[in-house]
Amino acid sequence: MGPCQGKLCHLNSIRVYAKETRMSEEDIGTTTARPPWTPVSMGLLAGRGHTPAKRTSMHHRSKDMGATIFWTGVWRRPHSYTQDTQAEAKAVHDSIGIIDVSTLGKILVKGPDAGAFLDRLYPNRFSDLKTGRIRYGILTTDGGRIFDDGTIARLSDDEYYVTTTSTGADGVFEWFEWWNAVWHMDVELANVTGQVAAVNVAGPNARRLMEKVCDVAVDNESFKYLDAKHAHIAGAPALVLRIGFVGELGYEIHFPSPFGEHVWDALFAAGAEWSATPFGLEPQRILRLEKQHILVGQDTDGESNPLEAAMSWIVKLDKDDFVGKWSIEHVQERGLQWMLVGFEMPNGRAPVEGGQVVVDGKSAGRVTSVRWSEQLQKTIGMAVVPIQFAEDGKTFDVKIDGTIEQAIVRTRPFFDPDGERLRS
């Protein structure tokens, strides 16, 4: 019996059977199973069709600034603000870039068991995270496959603020609720994705801008990398996370969505003297690739596990248990066969994303991400390669328009490999 439990195939089966046996459908009869019909009012069918779309509270400001909007899941998001996406990325490296990241999933986890609950869900630990600090986390399925990632900030003894990928928000929330129902832990969950807007202010001048709009100290001593602090941004209540997906000094500001335009306007007014520039999703993709920060679903697929996605450091197998632990242990026991690595193309040519990694003339892996980096003046990317190639400086072949080209493995971030700019 399939997912429809016979409701769709039952009538067809009767007709096929009647035809084959030359019996009448009436003689065969039917069960009392009802088709999955739900009454729909005529009023609902009438009228112009509308496509449900989510928009952030800064959507219209972005359009006013010339953004090209495109679909990312059910969200409408700025792809870029100009034709020159490299210039938008360069603005982040040189001064200040501002991006609307309101689409990130945001989940509150509250209760005496909140830390223990997250410890069971993620391969790493959160019960020992200090209040006011942030830690990166990936989520794995029962099969030990990566299905989402994000940051977790501890707000108090029993309150955590979890971010997820934009497209994974609803799925992760359901995942949390499901496990909470299974484990019966003393935890309350709330999905505040739409309620909270978020903006990332990034670049070497980001701190100067923040000093003008933030009512708490933002110097490197008072507000360290991976700190989470409550503040007011241009008067709006906010949770500020010092994290850096795009590889530069950065502050991710989370605040109630209806303040979106006010905060957006205030940030650009304050940043005008440093030519603060809006940047879209495409420049963000260039910047994150320069840091080899993965995009779940782009650099991972349904078979990716943390060990072979170069994230063994995040897996704490000494924990009693977590979702996917058994499967990850199995990967460790069988030995690593693949690895997600960075690569650069010496001749500057760019393989397509999804293109083949070739060994001895046969497909042996895939390219997951590729971009030209104006900052680095080279074509960079990430690829899943056989484990024997996963060493810095080794070469592997990729196929570009039917011809074989050589790629050089880079296992460390292409840009600021020691994270000095992030921590500056």
Partner: protein, 206 residues
């Protein structure tokens, strides 16, 4: 002060020369429709629209997103409190209450004294009121829900539909505001309806 205070729209300050203004997710569409706005309790509120008297005689759409929306969990009985306009039991142990914007902080504080989990959801929900004689017709064009109050799809997005003063309040994720406004306007215009400011219905809490 709770670690979750930053979620509440009424925690803004005007220090440093800043004047934070809250805007509903329907604001841009309303501005295009000629709305006149007034700042009330920190929100930019659409108080009137051209042609709203005629709309009100057919069916009017009123943005009440500035109303306080508070989620309460763990209550054994439906939540009641002074200042609460509407209390809706979403499911056992989960209640949603709406109140006038001026009362949001007070209602939230009172509820927090009696219940372990109280979350200010004002910033997360938009509320669209459908008022006037053709309100039932518009609602039927947007949803199959008819035993009210109820939760389910309204123009294909998750929403709560409440009855209020002979009309309906649709409470939905604010990120769908632009979209749902278009869908509701499309349905209302067929009956000669359109946008109506909050002052035309007595500030929204009539």
């Amino acid at each position: 002060v709770s670690a979750l205070d930053f979620l509440s729209t009424d925690r803004a300050v005007t220090d440093g020369g800043f004047a934070p203004v809250l805007k509903s997710s329907l604001e841009r569409r309303q501005r295009e429709a000629g709305a006149a706005f007034d700042e009330r309790h920190g929100w930019l509120v659409p108080v009137s629209f051209p042609g709203e008297e005629a709309h009100l005689a057919a069916v009017g759409l009123v943005d009440l997103s500035h109303f306080g929306t508070i989620e309460v969990r763990g209550a054994t009985e439906p939540v009641s409190e002074e200042g609460v306009l509407v209390s809706y039991r979403v499911r056992a142990g989960v209640d949603l209450v709406l109140c006038e914007p001026k009362d949001t902080f007070l209602v939230r504080s009172k509820l927090a004294r009696r219940h372990a989990f109280v979350l200010d959801r004002t910033a997360g929900y938009a509320t669209l009121a459908i008022v006037g004689p053709h309100a039932p017709d518009v609602l039927r064009r947007l949803t199959h829900l008819h035993e009210l109050p109820a939760s389910g799809p309204v123009a294909h997005v998750a929403a709560h539909v409440l009855e209020r003063d002979g009309g309906y309040w649709i409470v939905f994720g604010q990120e769908y505001g632009h979209y749902l406004w278009e869908a509701a306007m499309d349905a209302a215009e067929r009956f000669g309806g359109g946008p109506v400011g909050v002052d035309a219905i007595g500030g929204g809490a009539r």
